[in-house]
Amino acid sequence: MAAVTADQKTQGTADTADAEHLAAFDAAVAADDRIEPRDWMPEAYRASLVRQMAQHAHSEIIGMQPEANWISRAPSLRRKAILMAKVQDEAGHGLYLYSAAETLGTSREELLDKLHAGRQRYSSIFNYPTLTWADVGAIGWLVDGAAITNQVPLCRCSYGPYARAMIRICKEESFHQRQGYELLLALSRGTSAQHEMAQDAVNRWWWPSLMMFGPPDDSSAHSAQSMAWKIKRHSNDELRRRFVDICVPQAEALGLTLPDPDIRWNEDLGQHDYGAIDWTEFQEVLKGNGPCNEQRLAQRRMAHEEGAWVRDAAAAYADKHAARPGTAGAAAQHVEATA
C-alpha cells in the first residue's frame, strides 16, 4: 500500500467523489456498521488500522519469547503442556492478525520487515524479563488480563476483519488468563518459597501491566481519532481504571498484595484510586531502553535470518512443482501458505 502519514489525510483534497465516499463511510461508522476490506475508507483510517493491527500482531510474536523462556523448565508436565499450548496459541493469534492486516493491502513480509527494522512497535510489556516460574503466572493473570480488558472492546471495532479476529483471540486469551491465575494461586497456597516467588512476580509485573493501556489520555497521540472512527471504544485511562478495579479483589483472593500503597476504594467515584505510574520508565522502554528490548528484537531477527534458507527452499520447491503439473499440486499449494 502507499505510505500514508497522519498529516497527509485525504480529506483535505477531497473532490466530489471522495466527499461522497467519506459521507458514506462516516454514516456507516455512525450506524455501527462494519467497514469491510472492499469498502472505501479514508487513507488515514487504513494507515491507523495497519499500524495498530501490525503492532498487535508483533506483540503476539514477540510475546512468545518471555514465556517460551520457561517451557524447558516448567516444573510439572501438566504446566509444561499448558505453557506450550499457550505459546502455540500466540503464534496462531499472530497469524490471524497478520492475515487481518493483509486485508488492508499490506503483507506479512512487509510488516515483519518493519518490525525487524525497528520501524513498528510491539507492546512495551514484553521488554521485561521472566526471571522465575511465577512470572509465567503473573503474565497470564496480569498481562493477559490487561490485554483482554483492552481487546474485548475491539470485538466491536468498526473494521470487520479486526473485530472478527478479536472475537476468536479473546476466547483463547480468557482461557490463558484463568490458567495464569490458577498457576499463581497454586504458588500462593504452596510452600513459603513458592508464595514468595508469586509475590515477587506480581511486584515486578504490576506496574508494567498498567502501562500496557498506553499513555494517559491527555498525551495519547492516536486516541481521539481512533475513538471517532470507533476503532477504539474507550480511553486508555478508562480501561486502565477498569483493570485496577478487576485486579484488586482478585489479588485478595490470591492472597497476594499489589505493590501500590496508594490503591484504595474511592466511595464517591465508585472505583479504585491508584498511585502514580512512572511514565519516564514507560518512555524509556518505548524508546528501546527497556531491560530486554535488544534481546527480543535480536532473537526475532535471528529466527528470521536463520530461517531464510528454509523459506527459500519451500519457495523453490513450490516453483518447481507448480511447473510440473500433476506431480505435487496439492503439496505445492500447501507450502505456499508456509513460505
Binding site: M84, L95, V310
Partner: protein, 233 residues
C-alpha cells in the same frame, strides 16, 4: 513396565527438544506445527508414564542413567534440517509401531489407536519438509543430506527389542527402511550408508546409556522441580 517407560521416555524427550524451538522457528506456521507435535508427544508421554507411576516423579526425579529413550530423540535440534531428519526417522518408526500396536490386543492397543492419528500427521509433516528441503535449493539440499547422514547412526537403535513391545521388529525395520528410502529418493537425496547395525552407540539408550547432550537437557528440565522438593505446582 519397561515398554511404557521406553516409549514414554521417547515421547517425553522428543517433546522437550521440539519445545526448544518455540520462538525460533523459520516461519510462523512452523511455530504452530512444531509446538503442536511437541504437545501431542507430551500427551503420549504423560499417558505412558502414568502406566508406570507418577508422571512428574518419573520425568523430574530420575537421573540420566534411568531414562530409557533411544538416543535419537535426545539429539540436539541443530538446524531445521537436523530437526526434520530426526522427525522423519522417529515419526516413521513411531507411526509403523503404533499401527501394529493398535492392531494388536496388547496393553498399548488403546493408546496406540489414539496416538496413531497424531503420529500420522507428524510423519506427513516431516516427509513434506524432507521433500521441500531436499528438492528445494542447493543449500537446503546439502543441509538436508548432511542432517540425514549425521543422525543415521542413531536409527538402528529403534529396532532393538523392547521388553513388552510385542511386534515383529524385523518387519518393522523393513517397513521403516522402505518408507524412509522412498521419501529420501523422492526428495532427490541419498539414503545414508556407513555404520548402522553394530555402530558403537546402537542400542545404548534403552539401557540407560545416553549421549552427552542429554545430561544437560535433563539438568535444565529438572532444575526447578528438584529445587522445591515435595512442592506441588
Amino acid at each position: 513396565m519397561t515398554a511404557a517407560l521406553a516409549l514414554g521416555d521417547d515421547a517425553l524427550v522428543l517433546s522437550h527438544r521440539l519445545g526448544e524451538w518455540a520462538g525460533h522457528a523459520p516461519v510462523l506456521e512452523e511455530e504452530v506445527a512444531l509446538a503442536n507435535i511437541a504437545l501431542d508427544l507430551l500427551g503420549q508421554a504423560r499417558m505412558l508414564l502414568s502406566f508406570v507411576g507418577d508422571e512428574d516423579q518419573l520425568a523430574y526425579l530420575r537421573e540420566e542413567r534411568a531414562f530409557r529413550n533411544v538416543q535419537l530423540v535426545e539429539q540436539p535440534n541443530g538446524d531445521f534440517a537436523h530437526t526434520i531428519a530426526r522427525q522423519l526417522y522417529f515419526s516413521v518408526y513411531q507411526h509403523l509401531l503404533y499401527e501394529r500396536l493398535a492392531a494388536g490386543q496388547g496393553e498399548f492397543a488403546d493408546l496406540a489407536a489414539k496416538a496413531v492419528k497424531e503420529v500420522a500427521y507428524h510423519r506427513d509433516h516431516a516427509e513434506q519438509w524432507v521433500l521441500r528441503l531436499g528438492d528445494g535449493t542447493a543449500e537446503s539440499h546439502e543441509r538436508m543430506q548432511r542432517a540425514l547422514d549425521a543422525l543415521w547412526r542413531f536409527t538402528d537403535e529403534l529396532f532393538e527389542p523392547v521388553e513388552g513391545v510385542d511386534v515383529d521388529r524385523h518387519a518393522l525395520r523393513d517397513g521403516w527402511l522402505a518408507a524412509v528410502t522412498s521419501v529420501v529418493e523422492r526428495a532427490t537425496l541419498t539414503l545414508p550408508s556407513g555404520p548402522q547395525s553394530g555402530a558403537w552407540t546402537a542400542g545404548a539408550g534403552r539401557q540407560g546409556l545416553h549421549t552427552e547432550p542429554f545430561g544437560r537437557m535433563l539438568a535444565e528440565m529438572q532444575h526447578l522441580h528438584r529445587s522445591h522438593p515435595g512442592a506441588s505446582w
